[in-house]
């Protein structure tokens, strides 16, 4: 044994020996290898595109040599100057920036005001049909935003753009541009879409609020108004803040709604401006716009982190939530339900009904029996130029559906498994640095709205670089981009699941003599089957609704349902486009039901993550 060593050496072995011992220990901990591999993988998948787009904004792009009087690839401030300080920067960035901020801020204000009232009604009052509303009010959040946009155009479209007229137009009512397009409908739709999120988040906080705190104030003689403003409101403020910031960040990146409702009247937001820049091959300008979007994302996140830190100091929300006492509404009971009912009517029934009716009407807005047909679904040999069969009989539709399943499905699967591995590596890795690097880098895509991320991917993977061939035009680039985009959610739920599991089941298996593969295959993955299924399905649902990544990275042969329907829209096949959208909504709804069946935890928790 080691009796020859001096006492001092026994007590503190030298650095070299300790390092060799650590290596001997680490050699038997596969999490280290996994952590390192994942770190390199994500550095390339996430960090590289983001950096490359930042670099692109300072590098002369191909085709711009003459304008910049510089060689391709040399350093330049041309794009910054052109985007921010030139004669056209008003169109390129300032007006879109103003529009984006106006949309985001208005959406936050209105959806918060409506959402808080509805959350209170559903969770704290005896309004009629409370249980039913708790589910029905959430539905608009499960529908893709542009479902509403399409429903809106179906009704309000006017002569500004060509194609089939809107219903009102054909009924002889002329809609003004400001109602049909631009700021008003965009905000209206986003409010419809995000109010349920407020109901979810604030509702959860309200339910967890310890009613004894209200009771204590009541005992001290405080009137309801005082209780609401000085007890309840401060306590749910963290939830309000996080809902507001979440909505704000999402609105900044929103692409589909302004694309449908803004473009016809040249009402640009940053996201559509970025798309326009890419579309017209102004890659340098696009890079600058993407960088601006990212900066807004980073600022939002910093505010979020800061507020969360402050909130944690006093957050004691939590307690006997089951004690909640319902407030008697009295005479207001039915009007309250009427308010909630109106929201469901406008947010769910009208859009879906409109879309459905539009798919079975030959001429929009003419409600006569001979105008109804199922041809757009299952007809054949129609007298249209290209789309001669109903959508369900068109091979391209099934191709797009198949692409959707393959591309979104495999990327959700990959990101779910990667998320679990990230959780595993973060918790088990012997090197702290690797763990926190993984944690942060997988969260980075959250700061970068999809459209900017897609642009970044395009700039990195469009051409062959080193061993990696040009990926543009292949399904692979879509899968990789989707995986990267879903990583914030996947890694967070992976880390949460692994934290909850703890180390012991695996340690017990090690002691029983299991090697790493048996531990993974027989212990970890089976135990985590539920979270893993949710971790795959949730990204799948949000993936099939997604537009921004696809519209930049997909080409006709890799069309998914969303891009296919937008392409149909471009060719004025409105009925078919709406039918495709309805199919997407159907898949999203089925997937959500499936999640609830599997996890039993319900949608609220999944969405809040």
């Amino acid at each position: 044994m080691t009796t020859l060593l001096t006492a001092a050496e026994q007590k503190k072995p030298n650095l070299w020996r300790r390092a060799r011992h650590s290596f001997a220990v680490a050699r038997h901990e596969p999490a280290n290898l996994i952590g390192l591999v994942l770190a390199i993988f994500f550095a390339y998948l996430i960090l590289a595109p983001v950096l490359s787009i930042l670099v692109d904004s300072f590098i002369v792009q191909s085709g711009d040599e003459a304008r910049t009087h510089q060689d391709e690839g040399s350093f330049t401030f041309y794009y910054i100057v052109r985007t921010l300080y030139s004669r056209i920067s008003e169109i390129l960035i300032w007006q879109p920036l103003y529009n984006t901020l106006a949309i985001a801020a208005s959406t936050v204000v209105f959806s918060m005001s409506i959402g808080v009232v509805l959350a209170w009604l559903v969770n704290r009052t005896n309004m009629a049909g409370r249980a039913w509303f708790a589910t029905a009010l959430i539905v608009p959040f499960m529908l893709p935003t542009w479902t509403f946009a399409l429903a809106w155009t179906t009704i309000f479209k006017n002569r500004t753009v060509g194609g089939q007229p809107g219903w009102l137009e054909s009924l002889g009512i002329t809609t003004s541009n400001s109602v049909a397009y631009g700021y008003f409908p965009i905000v209206f739709i986003l409010v419809l879409h995000y109010t349920p999120l407020v109901i979810l988040i604030v509702g959860n906080a309200l339910r967890r609020l310890d009613s004894q705190m209200e009771d204590s104030a009541r005992v001290l003689g405080a009137p309801s108004r005082t209780i609401a403003f000085s007890i309840v409101l401060p306590l749910i403020r963290p939830a309000l803040m996080s809902a507001a910031l979440l909505i704000f960040a999402d609105c900044i990146g929103e692409f589909a709604v302004p694309y449908i409702l803004g473009l016809p009247v040249r009402y640009d937001t940053l996201a559509t401006g970025l798309y326009r820049a890419l579309d017209t091959r102004q890659n340098g300008v696009a890079a600058v716009i993407a960088a601006v979007i990212m900066i807004i994302g980073v600022i939002t996140l910093l505010i979020d982190v800061r507020m969360m830190k402050e909130a944690r100091r006093f957050v004691t929300v939590g307690g006997k939530g089951n004690m909640d006492r319902l407030r008697k509404l009295g005479r207001m009971r039915l009007p309250a339900s009427g308010f909630a009912g109106a929201f469901v009517l406008i947010g769910v029934v009208l859009p879906l009904l409109t879309l459905f009716l539009s798919t079975i009407m030959i001429l929009p807005g003419r409600f006569t029996l001979d105008n109804f047909t199922l041809d757009y679904w299952i007809g054949s040999n129609l007298d249209t130029v290209a789309l001669r069969n109903g959508i369900l009989l068109t091979p391209e539709f099934w191709q797009a559906a198949w692409n959707t399943i393959v591309i979104v499905g495999s990327s959700s699967m990959i990101s779910g498994v990667l998320g679990l591995l990230v959780g595993y590596a973060v918790l088990r890795c012997s090197f702290k640095g690797v763990g926190s690097f993984l944690r942060q880098i997988t969260f980075l895509p959250y700061l970068v709205p999809g459209i900017a991320f897609a642009a970044a991917f395009l700039s990195l993977f469009a051409v062959a670089r080193g061993p990696i061939p040009a990926l543009y035009g292949t399904p692979l680039i879509l899968i990789i981009a989707l995986v990267a985009e879903k990583m914030p959610f996947a890694s967070r739920s992976g880390i949460a699941a692994m934290t909850q599991l703890g180390k012991e089941p695996e340690e017990a298996a090690r002691i029983a003599g299991a090697n790493w593969f048996s531990r993974m295959g027989k212990i970890i993955i089976p135990i985590q089957a539920g979270p893993l299924a949710t971790g795959i399905l949730l990204p799948f649902i949000s993936g099939i609704k997604g537009v921004s990544l696809f519209i930049i990275l997909a080409i006709p042969s890799t069309d998914v349902l969303t891009t296919y329907s937008l392409r149909l829209l471009d060719y004025n096949y409105d009925q078919a486009a709406n039918a495709v959208v309805l199919m997407i909504a159907l898949i999203a709804w089925l997937g959500t039901v499936l999640i609830q069946k599997i996890s039993g935890t319900g949608l609220a928790q999944g969405l809040e993550n």
Partner: protein, 394 residues
Amino acid sequence: MPAITLTNLTKCYDGNTEPSVDQVSLTVEDGEFMCLLGPSGCGKTTILRMIAGIEHSTSGEIAVDDLVVDSVHQSCFIPPEQRRIGFVFQNYALWPHMTVERNVDFGLRLQKVPAQERKERCLDVMSKLRILEYADRYPSQLSGGQQQRVALARMLAVNPGVLLLDEPLSNLDATLRLEMRAELRRLHQTFGTTIIFVSHDQWEAMTLANTIAVMNKGQLQQIGTPDEIYAEPSNRFVAEFIGNPKINLIKLKESNDKFINLASHILARQPESKFADVCAIRPEEIILTNTANINTLPMVIENIMPTGGSWVIELSFAEDRLFHSTQSRPKWREGDQVNAYLPTPSLHFFDHDEKRLVLSESHLDYSNLLPSSALPNKQNANQIHTNQSYAKQA
């Protein structure tokens, strides 16, 4: 053959300044039933985890069956899956997605034991632990005690050379705890496995273990049989930690370099190198009498607490409070004046560093120094002596 040898084992977790386990050296013989005893946070679990290989050491060495499994100096680390050591976790860590039977035969499957033999060994262990009837249930459908037996069965099925148990009884209620204690002892006898178990319950340690290792703040305080630990605590911490009611400690203020004095009584001769600082006596070793003599100390009965079949008497002596425990019903009332005799052989002395002072016969036998009149009256002393040897035997 020693089953496990720890040599100067030290563990300092990343980010901690103080080591959680500090220079611990001990040997566990084959077939031994050892208990690691110590207050919460003293590093017991950490030692077990290092022996099992779930945690690695910062310095020092662990050898299992004379094979070094973890040593910084030899840059050697054998992972837990290759150590053949059983570990029963404090909260069992059963695999929730497997039935009881699958939990138990998991290890055997990994060892590629043929199905027939596997079935037999599984049944054998499960029936020995009386969980056969729950074979098809999932862990969440079992009570705490049943879960614990599954956790034990899971480890016993693969018949490990060494079994580590981390506070195996702490989650159980009193009756079940007693039952499981008997069960553990029976297991040790039937399987003959070397067992190291962790506890902070001294009663459990005393009744179960052949050897007890007392720990405090990461350091090994004393290692010995339950009797040795109780009778000859090697320092003040061990003396205080073991025994209920707690040992009585009296600060010695009047001692000089010749004699150890207490309230102007000479207790013993002062040893040459170190001075006694504190004197201690177990509550049951104090003898109370009505008659005063030169060897007794006057005390007042403050409180008499019956503890079911025995009594604990709180005494006040100057500003000190002492406890006396007895099996016979006390014949005094609260407030009575009594005389306490502290028999010299039952006294423990600790020096300034709280270490035990080992006094030889000649130090204790100071009677030749005193005038004969100072000795206790002969008859009385005799009686006291018999009392005392009786107490010792008990």
